[in-house]
Symmetry: C2
């Protein structure tokens, strides 16, 4: 394998494709024999295709409730789980066992005040050389944008749910 | 599995994340037990992580040369391979053996005049109910945007290649 120097990628914006872009990056990494760890913040519903796929080399953990977080009034459990997620990410990063660590929806966890921005920044800055970091979620904080090497904003141009159609298996989850 | 009605998703824009978003969608589908077929237009380099990953349920074929297509003067081989890619996509779609068919970089193949837009539109419109279509690539034609149910534009906000760093394994390919 070639020498790599891990950078920070950030996917934000209101459009569909942030988490799936990170998952696609994971798949690409795995194909080259690298190991990937993903923490999903604010998610606790295990019926996601990526969790069921069980791809060797990709470890995904959730650290949130199955219900939506109330932005104006997040519960103590929401906060506790988000902090636990940050701790898991920190351990995965510092362990140097993974070539890529994805913090899915972490931008939202910061925006909602569930985890402290400064701690997240410290963890990212302290990563071992070669560990690639991916941050996803809308409303990314400017400090995270500044820290990132690559930032893609995914804008919703069009999103027509078919009349009467619920979120679809394999598509939205 | 729940009843599904296949829609058309389109990922365009100049930012990183279009192909990976499609790959992430594929991973999500596979986790639910669905089958996915991806044709990569204008790509012929087999050193992509997604090709090496060999995930059960995901079939990826390339239909292009390993070299870049000269936009002003595409070769006959570029055109022949792109048309072959369209034929492969058509067969995969009409076979009804795949729940999702991804036409990776097809927007660019249309823009470069390698394949006829109207034929692509016909193929998409004629898809069996339940087959999800994903189109990727910058400079999507307005007719494809009109046809799509979901359109995400991925904008490059920041893309700092590290000084002297080449495209990196697992990241750009």
């Amino acid at each position: 394998m070639t020498e790599r120097t891990g950078t920070v990628q950030l996917y934000t914006g209101d459009g569909k494709g942030k988490t799936t872009a990170a998952l696609g990056c994971a798949l690409r990494m795995i194909g080259h024999g690298f190991k990937v760890y993903m923490v999903q913040f604010m998610k606790g519903d295990t019926n996601y295709g990526e969790l069921k796929a069980k791809v060797p080399g990709l470890k995904i953990v959730q650290s949130g409730l199955a219900t939506f977080v109330d932005r104006e009034n997040p519960s103590e459990e929401d906060k506790t789980l988000a902090r636990k997620g940050l701790e898991l990410a920190k351990r995965a990063i510092s362990s140097n066992k993974y070539d890529m660590v994805i913090l899915d929806e972490v931008n939202v966890a910061v925006e909602y005040g569930l985890i402290p921005l400064e701690e997240l920044v410290r963890i990212i800055r302290a990563r071992p050389n070669g560990v690639e970091i991916i941050l996803t979620g809308r409303d990314a904080h400017q400090k995270l944008i500044d820290l990132a090497d690559l930032v893609s904003e995914i804008r919703e141009i069009k999103h027509h749910y078919r009349k009467g159609t619920q979120a679809r298996e394999g598509i939205e989850y």
